[in-house]
Symmetry: D2
Subunit: 422 residues, 4 copies
């Protein structure tokens, strides 16, 4: 069954699933039409995700970590204008230089920018005007792809490619950010009343992790982010990893056993966060009569015990594992099991916290220039999540993908699976 109706079924009807991912960078001759198709596919998906949202919805920034829908739409456009058109399209006239201050995110090398916390205060350009900005840049990029010389394409396609994956990341954030915004509204607005969280696969038991040295990191010719390299050897210690995700039913047992009231189960920083924030259940849960309901993309819904638990922080995942007398897997244990396809629901439901701090692979160096700020500068204080979620765009995930968030954050679709270290 198709999940996430609003941004998945609609797309399935409207879009060509073959359009993404684009061809490998090294493929020759360059298939310009395929690249243009991939570009249109990604750009359209952003607009499809924004379509159910009113101008008011698109305006709001509900916390410092989130951004307005309108900002996501404009920022991803700025990315192409700044890094692709400004650099590579001779004679290109910037649509409006003033937008560059507004829609740069964190690229220090690309110039000053609106403080992150103030993104929600920019009422103009309006949502409609941002559509105009998008159309202008779309036309220019498509023209560039059609007309560039073969040698120019050598420089263009790597930037285009990262721009596409970058926009897909913002597509996921667009969904999680608007869910957070709606959750602040006591009316519990719906993004899509028909949306339902997809069901898990039937799966039980533990998978053995073979002890030994294995290669980790990106291989092959497809796209990957720089933080997935260099490919290198890792020693797997052995142990096991669960096939299934932890479910809401599991989590209710944790709550019932005092999971949120026993400090001995928690990391010190985690306990401080839990007390400060008043956590007594996953994010967006609220008591409903004898049970629990949760704010979802379809508004407030009863918690379904069969679904995987989501909107949990690393601190909660860690406390749960300690309560269960188990472990969280390392990112490498996860990757080994996932690439052998031995995990249920590795992708498409919830990002899965690992106990690996987000750090550089040995010998990692960011690329020069502003795009070097993409991943490397965040390599402290965060933990790696693996897999992908219900909000991840089609074609975006892969087995070596390293997502990362701070351990207190829980507005993403974040869950967990357990393991046992040897």
């Amino acid at each position: 069954m198709a999940a996430t109706a609003a941004f998945r079924e609609t797309r399935d009807e409207a879009a060509d699933p073959a359009a993404f991912p684009p061809p490998p960078l090294g493929a020759r001759p360059v298939d310009r039409a395929a690249w243009i198709s991939a570009f249109r596919h990604v750009r359209d998906e952003t607009e499809r995700r924004a379509a159910p949202l009113s101008p008011e919805d698109q305006q709001v920034q509900s916390m410092a970590d989130a951004s307005p829908t309108k900002w996501h739409r404009a920022h991803t456009t700025w990315f192409f204008e700044q890094f692709l058109l400004r650099e590579h399209l001779p004679g290109y006239a910037i649509y409006d230089e003033r937008l560059h201050y507004l829609f740069n995110s964190y690229y220090v090398a690309a110039g000053p920018r609106q403080p992150r916390i103030m993104r929600g205060l920019i009422t103009r350009p309006t949502a409609d005007e941002v559509a105009g900005y998008r159309a202008h840049v779309d036309r220019a990029v498509e023209a560039l792809l059609s007309q560039a010389s073969a040698s120019a394409l050598e420089a263009i396609l790597p930037v285009l490619e990262i721009g596409l994956y970058h926009e897909q990341q913002h597509q996921e954030l667009l969904i999680t950010d608007i869910l957070h915004a709606f959750a602040q509204n006591p009316l519990g607005p719906t993004y899509d009343a028909d949306w339902r969280f997809p069901r898990s696969q039937d799966a039980t038991g533990r998978v053995d992790l073979a002890r030994g040295i294995t290669q980790i990191g990106h291989a092959g010719e497809g796209f990957s982010f720089d933080n997935e390299s260099p490919r290198h050897d890792v020693l797997i210690q052995g142990g096991t990893i669960d096939r299934a995700l932890v479910t809401n039913a599991d989590w209710l047992a944790f709550i019932a056993d005092g999971g949120y009231t026993r400090p001995e189960l928690w990391l010190s920083d985690g306990w401080i966060a839990a007390q400060a924030e008043g956590w007594d259940a996953p994010g967006y849960w609220r008591r409903a009569g004898e049970g629990w309901a949760s704010m979802t993309l379809a508004g407030i819904q009863a918690v379904d015990p069969a679904l995987p638990v989501t909107h949990i922080s690393y601190y909660e995942a860690d406390a749960y594992a300690r309560w269960a007398g188990r472990d969280l897997p390392t990112e490498f244990e996860w990757e080994v099991a996932a690439r052998e396809d031995r995990l249920a629901d590795a992708f498409g439901l919830v990002w899965q916290w690992t106990r690996s701090a987000y750090t550089a692979y040995p010998g990692y160096r960011p690329v020069d220039g502003a795009l070097g700020e993409y991943n490397g500068k965040f390599m402290s204080n965060q933990f790696v999540l693996r897999g992908s979620s219900v909000a991840t765009p089609q074609g975006h995930a892969r087995v070596g993908y390293r997502n990362f968030f701070y351990p207190h954050q829980r507005w993403q679709f974040t869950g967990l699976r357990l393991s046992d270290a040897r």
Copy 2:
């Protein structure tokens, strides 16, 4: 000359200036048509002021002290529904009970409410849906006014009347709040590109304040807020008060003489605020080449030396007076001079800080119930301002009117005139 084009000229064309204020409460027989006309006049003015604003503009809350345009439109509607229709219209069906949580401001007795700081997060209802709420309540109020028995009107009209003046207060806030929001946008959006601050009257010199006992506070049959009563005797010490307001030219001299860098000119709390906020000029001023520009309702404009200075805090007003070797008047000195019509620009340009702390007149008691929360509970830590401003609706101001703000606030159209205490 007509000022504040967007919300004044338009109104002059569209509205009947005779419609407001309504008849005195005690007038008999009750002129239902005049009350309905006054109601429509006020309700329409709110919409006229909101008309230049996009749904995005209406959504934003740029600081805790400000509220979204949409919220002002809905809250003033809630006020009539809560205090007038719910109480006085038998069989009235509340439009949507859920809106009462969203649009109650600070009336504890009227139930729980959305935290003030989170007003900007409510994207739904949309601006259009708020228009529907307004229309529904408008129809019900007009029906009530048409059909209520004479005895019922005795209870209805006092609530209606305060609701009208209440909505006018929000009309002023609507303008000052959106100016603050626009000032956060580096693009400097315009509320009305043709808007110009009205010019001052030609006036110089000082008016003598006669020493002696005088009556202060509300008299007569017109409307006043409870904080203007009881009328009581006050001893005027004598001294003088300036006919003219302090101008931008005056203020530039203060700046040039180190006004913002000499702590001996400032109250201790004021100096702390000035340092913390980095004040070096009035609110919304920014350096422009050799001179100064200011964010206005018409976008960023050069500072005109001839205009009265505005967007200054009490702390700045106090420091300016000390620098000038002068005083700020008490609210009573202002009132005495104003009611004899001896002040230029007493009304219509800028609210004028007085050195009177905002406290109760002797024997003041708030009314029972939620409407008792209107004024009395704010009687600490604020200072009285007298007069009215360019954003004050027609018919709202009067000589005994007591406005009040915290001494650090400066997003209102606040200015000053000097005096000399005897």
Copy 3:
């Protein structure tokens, strides 16, 4: 019974009560011996108050509003060195210039200073070394007083006099600050185990306040602070004022009637403070079995219903008056009744909140120079208290004295008496 044993009985034995106040400034010939005696009297009293305190006790700063005992001892010494010796004693060698940074309080004109919040971090000089600083300055001041020419004394005595009253103010703070510090210690240390709060006078009923114009402010030849001038006419509206202070018994009735849980009784800012701080009783009260105990200078003691309530904020005083259907007096009403000696316990138990905001008397101007920072720069956001407290040094209080604190503060010995406005 003599109260505040540690700093009162001891003093009564050790000191000559006739030593303070010194002669009026204008008395001729100048009685040098009397001035030296007054100086020694005040300086000794500070040391007597510090005597029960260990070096550790004298080191601690328990909040930004409080200062360490050691700092009080050094700062009052600095005051004489900075404003008296440096200016008026030719050839005087500053004891240690580095101490001036440490022990200046808020005199901007006297140079930079240690941030207030960091006073408790200065472990050196030690308490003993501060004693050496005090002795050095004492010797120099006494020498100056003995040897100065008659004409030099004209300039010296006004500074000496303000220095004495200044040091007395710090004597009161020394007591209230150490009580606050001890209250943070769960062991409930005692300043003086034998200390007892003095009993109230027997008094009931209300005193009529005659309507009419009266003179307010300092008159005569004795000392007063600048904020008590200019003397000026004030119109008393009439009404009554209670002879007695509000007691703990009264306050227990307020608590029992929901005084701390009914927002309609409170100023808006007061309710916010009460919620943020979790107030459910006066400062230092804690539940003890069925009743209440309070942290005092003699450690934790049962609350005595007969004593005047103390350690209450203005917000609480205001809420109490509203609950009682009464008023707080203005500072002028209090002064009129007190100077006619019609109030019980006007002095010596608790400072009494008035509903007068702390502002300048008409025509007030601070003196030039650093000493002009003494009072005037605090004239915003505070309320006037009248009378004096159990911690006020002998000879310090007078009927026109204007004390002032922020409305949320309650670490002083602050109480109230009620009135009825006409």
Copy 4:
């Protein structure tokens, strides 16, 4: 040459260096005298380190991360009373139960405790009274060690042993905390005027790290903390590591090349911290004429280029490595090189930041009960440091020791050595 004169040379004279460490836990027969000697040695060292400090010095807590000297002296005593005497000495009478609230640090299972931020407010017990507490507990522990049955010793010695290493950790903190406190005092007090930072060994060049699997973690019979286990295989990738520490001369080059002003060199969280704190040099550095001085245990001293840089945060270490085009080593790379004794100054000068996040070794489980809170609950958001510092007590360090701090902290003696990842 003996370093850290105040707490090292003194000790060398006074103490028997053979007294510590005590015999391995498993040694039979148990050498009671050796354990008593080790206990006395550690207890005495704490007092030796506190000896130069006045009661005032011992009282102060200069930030939330630091604790008063007096608190360290009392807390380490509480540790023995709570975990050793209360559990294992039949009939032992607790010295004062009220001290347990005051001097428990973070052991939730051991009961409630004084909030960390308020440790500096406890003026009583005094420093002298804490000495009494220490003496009482010392006598009881020595009696217990003399008299306990052989079987009782089985349970006693592991607790005693961890208590000794625990107290040594506080000995290091005592020094770093008082240095931080003194650094807040503009007078720049000295802990020991003769103290000098020890010189580095002469060392240059890089050590090759052999690629391959190696065992990491605690082995053998000596003491280790639980976070050093389980011993497990780790794959070393190869690469090199510097023999020498980074020096002040190196760091001056980093500063001169804009190290503190180029965001591209910094982690995102690090840049935010650097801007917020205004970092432009290592902790305690201040400009002195054309050069730099630094606050040290001997007061303010010129920065010596030949010394290892210290008081740097992880963020600074990371930025420096990026600037140098090098890496920080992993904790495993460091351990491999150190156990082969190939590093200069591995111990005794500065703790060395590694790029390893502080996480559990595979299969790690904390012990049950309050002592299980010792290390495990801090395994998030911190980085591992290896080696030891000038403030580390003799006998405390070992090659597998894992120290950990937050990446923004720099009041410890923290430095770095560089490496090159393969």
